[in-house]
């Protein structure tokens, strides 16, 4: 046994990995799903894609409102907002060696429109360029004629047109103030068309486009191979283990400073923290702020925390809210008890504004910030990140006030709610402890108001959670939204318009809000749009369709050897690797 220990010790000493200035190592827990920019719709995949592929424009440093040219050099927007013309950068080549021209732009965007896989983010481009949402087959339905398909093809074909080798024109079906921001989403990144066609991807012609409608791009070559123009080239992707990239010495903007980038997947947070301390990783993902004390003040580790240093100016772009369904599916639904006040709730329980206000007042923001957000949280006034155009900090909010909550609940349902009581189930997807805490905070306060109020908190599997919410079986649950593109429409429409993704599910509908939303969607003047959104925010306060949860305050940890990083909330990885350097 003793011998064994000596041997173990001897083996152990020789392998400490000293920080290598040529290699940047990041450890996180997310699975990379795909390396195809059209298929990808998650931040782990996005982080690799945004460093290997490039769009026509990109965010400038940490700004979400300023842009810098990448594969384009300039652009022009027509006065009616219907066409965008980009001049392209000359002399750029892909990692495969092919040179970049307009045909690659045309191919890349049309590939997104043609394939538009159902679980991808390609709809973001589909809407402004074709007026459709899903892929052609889904949109046209069964029994569609060849002519109908030909129509869709001609829309797609006409949406991106090469005027010459270095000028491309986009034709929109309607004015869209968000179009430019949508083009910054990685689905609009430019792939190497010759290389893609040579490797079994769609050949870009009308003859074969129907074979690629709605396909799963994970089955194709671009799933795990990349040829972009970015500052880094893919070396290897070992799914579930690591992604390795190396500097592109021929990058048009000059070769980046760090030669190798390694993204490692380590599920266990304790292991990640250990690796950071040991210098085996330059940065690691932390699940929550509560783990910060374990790395703060450690030699060699820099912690940037917007809660302690407001001058960083960082804010979260995630919006979380409690969803109150106004048309609950009643059939065989134990979540609403008996289906009537007393031992349950009626299916239209939340249509009563007093119920919604009562729930809003009963939510203890301070406990949420202290316990769930670990002491650092920011109250938001509307379902829009504070850094976005149109966010108005002066819109009133519901502050935690049990007396007002009691007042509202007494008025609800003509006083019946207070006299007869209620029972409902609050669901969260298991593993999400902050959603669970929200449910328990509300439960505890509402039950305190009136002993006849009974609420059960229930954790269910993610798949069941989505299924039940989609079928309107959940009276109340917590939802979250992160941006696809940096435009307020991506939030406001989603949360407040009758046809918005979340509002359609809650059954919230208000014609006045809809009118303002429609107006803002096509208004091209930013100042007027901001005014409209502020107006909308005030109206939404009155209607209280959601309980808006405070946002977390961002932080970042990094080994002190690394410099050049910043935090751009629109980038999946916060910063581009090409801007980093290491001593």
């Amino acid at each position: 046994m003793k011998k064994l220990l000596v041997l173990l010790a001897a083996l152990g000493v020789c392998v400490a990995f000293a920080g290598d200035p040529n290699t940047y190592v990041e450890q996180s827990f997310g699975d990379v799903d795909t390396l195809d920019p059209v298929q990808a719709y998650d931040s782990a995949s996005g982080q690799v894609i945004e460093n290997v592929y490039e769009g026509l424009y990109g965010y400038k440093g940490d700004s979400v409102t300023e842009y810098e040219p990448r594969l384009a050099t300039s652009y022009e927007e027509s006065a009616d907002g219907m066409t965008y013309t980009f001049s392209l950068r000359e002399g750029v080549s892909f990692h495969s060696g092919n040179s970049f021209t307009c045909k690659d732009v045309e191919y890349s965007i049309e590939r997104a429109l043609v394939t538009n896989p159902p679980d991808s983010g390609a709809w973001i481009l589909m809407e402004p360029l074709t007026g459709l949402f899903s892929d052609a087959t889904t949109e046209l339905g069964d029994g569609a004629t060849d002519e109908q398909y030909a129509d869709v093809w001609s829309t797609i074909d006409n949406s991106v047109v090469c005027l010459d080798d270095y000028t491309v024109q986009f034709n929109l079906v309607a004015p869209d103030p968000a179009f430019f921001s949508k083009m910054l989403f990685y689905a609009a990144n430019i792939v190497d068309s010759e290389w893609a066609k040579a490797n079994g991807m769609w050949d870009g012609t009308a003859a074969t486009w129907r074979d690629f409608i709605g396909v799963d791009l994970r089955d194709y070559y671009l799933q795990n191979n990349m040829s972009g123009t970015g500052a880094y080239k893919l070396v290897a992707w070992e799914p579930g283990i690591r992604v390795v990239a190396e500097a592109n010495a021929d990058y048009w903007g000059g070769a980046p400073s760090i030669a190798n980038v390694v993204l490692q997947q380590v599920e266990d947070e304790a292991s990640r923290i250990q690796a950071l301390k040991a210098g085996d990783a330059d940065t690691v993902a932390l699940g929550a702020r509560s783990s910060l004390p374990q790395v703060e003040g450690q030699p060699g580790i820099v912690v940037l925390d917007a809660a302690k240093d407001p001058s960083l100016g960082w804010s979260s772009v995630a919006v979380n809210a409690v969803f109150m369904a106004q048309d609950i599916n009643q059939s065989d639904n134990t979540n609403i008890g008996s289906g009537d006040l007393g031992l349950g709730i009626p299916s239209d329980f939340f249509t009563d504004i007093h119920v919604r206000k009562c729930f809003n007042y009963a939510f203890d923001t301070e406990t949420y910030i202290n316990d769930v957000l670990d002491g650092a949280g920011e109250v938001i006034t509307m379902a829009l990140p504070t850094s976005y155009l149109g966010y108005d900090p002066n819109v009133p909010v519901y502050e935690y006030d049990l007396e007002k909550a009691e007042e509202e609940c007494k008025q609800a349902w003509g006083g019946r709610l207070w006299d007869e009581g209620m029972y409902l189930t609050f669901s969260y997807n298991t593993g999400n402890s902050s959603r669970q805490a929200v449910a328990e905070i509300l439960k505890s306060n509402l039950e305190y108001l009136n002993p006849k109020f009974k609420i059960d908190v229930r954790g269910i599997q993610w798949s069941q959670f989505l299924d039940e919410r989609r079928n309107n079986r959940l009276p109340a649950s917590i939802i979250g939204w992160i941006p696809d593109y940096a435009d307020p429409d991506n939030y406001i429409h989603t949360f407040y318009a009758t046809t918005g993704y979340y509002s359609a599910q809650t059954g919230f509908s208000d014609p006045e809000i809809d009118a303002i939303d429609e107006q803002a969607r096509t208004e091209l003047d930013p100042a007027k749009r901001a005014e409209l959104y502020s107006q909308l925010g005030n109206m939404a306060y009155e209607k209280a369709p959601y309980i808006l949860l405070p946002q977390s305050v961002p932080f970042m940890i990094m080994r002190e050897e690394v410099s050049g990083y910043y935090r751009n909330p629109m980038l999946s990885g916060s910063y581009l690797w090409k801007d980093l350097s290491k001593q």
Binding site: D268, Q298, D374, S433, P451, Q461
Partner: protein
């Protein structure tokens, strides 16, 4: 199959549960084995804790906001009934506690553990859950899981084992092939799939583990039946006109089931390890349910303490892992002693 399945270790079992058992040779041998006695005492203590979980946690139930008190129909003024054996609530929480009593009460929602205080005498684990409460009620969870899984496994095992051994032929072949398949698949991965599909709850964990629990018992019993059939006295009985069915039910089953019961009950420790492993992988009881495996999982992020204070959160990992090991150790010490006694040939 794991070691505690009787098929491996019980081939030579000859139970002697007769009169004067305390003075019997087996019992005397058992009493000489200090480890077995220690195991027995540990288990007795756990049984006591499980039965009196309610009264043992009455001060937590009184001081935290919780649904258990609500579902027992107690108000803030009558909550002290829990300490009073003449009140019905005292007995109700012992014999028929509402499901909500298994939820650990929370002191806030913070992920950061809190050290022991007057309210939480062993501290709170990540998420503000009271450690003491979780340990006490977790004992019930452990017994429930262990007893139901073994009970179900035994029931199905006895039925299938006797059918297989009695009828033989293609039924026997079919069952034995199914058992072979069960032995051949990685139980943990498939249990994970089952729990993911059925949803996270203690009930579904029990279902998942039960699906794999019966196979060993069935095979053991079938083997016993076949073995007895070959014996001379059976031939003799047959010659005297006894039917083999009668023989099995009158002579084989009572004997084999006795040893099967003893051996299966000792598997409870192993079953609890299975429950804990699923909980650790995030697939056990729902968050907040009093369950030791989950408490170890909660502790995972806090084991390393803080810079300069490596033991800052020692209580978070120490208590649940200590209790799991103690519980399983109790079963295994007892089990080892019992097997040792039963293995002895007179």
């Amino acid at each position: 199959m794991d070691i505690s399945s009787p098929a491996v270790s019980a081939q030579t079992v000859t139970p002697k549960v007769k009169k004067g058992w305390w003075q019997s040779k087996a019992m005397r041998r058992f009493r000489r084995n200090p480890l077995g006695i220690i195991g027995f005492i540990i288990l007795l203590a756990f049984v006591f804790v499980a039965i009196f979980a309610g009264p043992l946690t009455s001060s937590q139930l009184i001081n935290y906001r919780n649904n258990c008190v609500r579902d027992l129909g107690l108000s803030r003024s009558t909550v002290t009934d829990l300490r009073n054996p003449v009140k019905p609530a005292f007995w109700r929480i012992i014999f028929a506690p509402p499901g909500s009593c298994f939820n650990m009460p929370r002191d806030g929602f913070s992920e950061i553990p809190k050290p022991p205080s007057e309210l939480s005498i062993l501290g709170t684990t990540s998420g503000g859950y009271d450690i003491y409460y979780g340990l006490i009620w977790g004992t019930r969870t452990a017994f429930y899981g262990g007893i139901i899984v073994t009970g179900f496994g035994l029931l199905v095992g006895i039925i299938i084992g006797s059918i297989s051994g009695y009828f033989g032929g293609w039924i026997d072949t079919l069952f034995m092939r199914i058992i072979d398949v069960i032995f051949a698949i990685p139980g943990l991965v498939l249990s994970m799939v089952i729990v993911t599909i059925l949803g996270q709850s203690l009930r579904n964990v029990i279902i998942a583990l039960s699906i794999f629990a019966w196979a060993g018992y069935a095979r053991f019993l079938r083997g016993e039946i076949l073995r007895v059939r070959e014996l001379d006295f059976v031939d003799g009985a047959k010659a005297l006109g006894a039917r083999s069915g009668r023989l099995i039910f009158r002579h084989v089953l009572p004997n084999s089931i006795g040893s099967l019961l003893i051996l299966a009950s000792l598997d409870i420790g192993t079953i609890v390890l299975g429950v804990a492993a699923l909980s650790f992988l995030g697939l056990g009881a729902p968050a907040g349910y009093a369950d030791w495996g989950q408490m170890v999982n909660f502790a995972r992020g806090w084991m390393l303490g803080l810079p300069g204070q490596p033991f800052a959160y020692w209580y978070v990992i120490f208590w649940p892992s200590f209790i799991i090991v103690l519980f399983v150790l109790g079963w295994n010490l007892l089990g080892d002693a019992v097997r040792d006694v039963m293995d002895v040939k007179s």
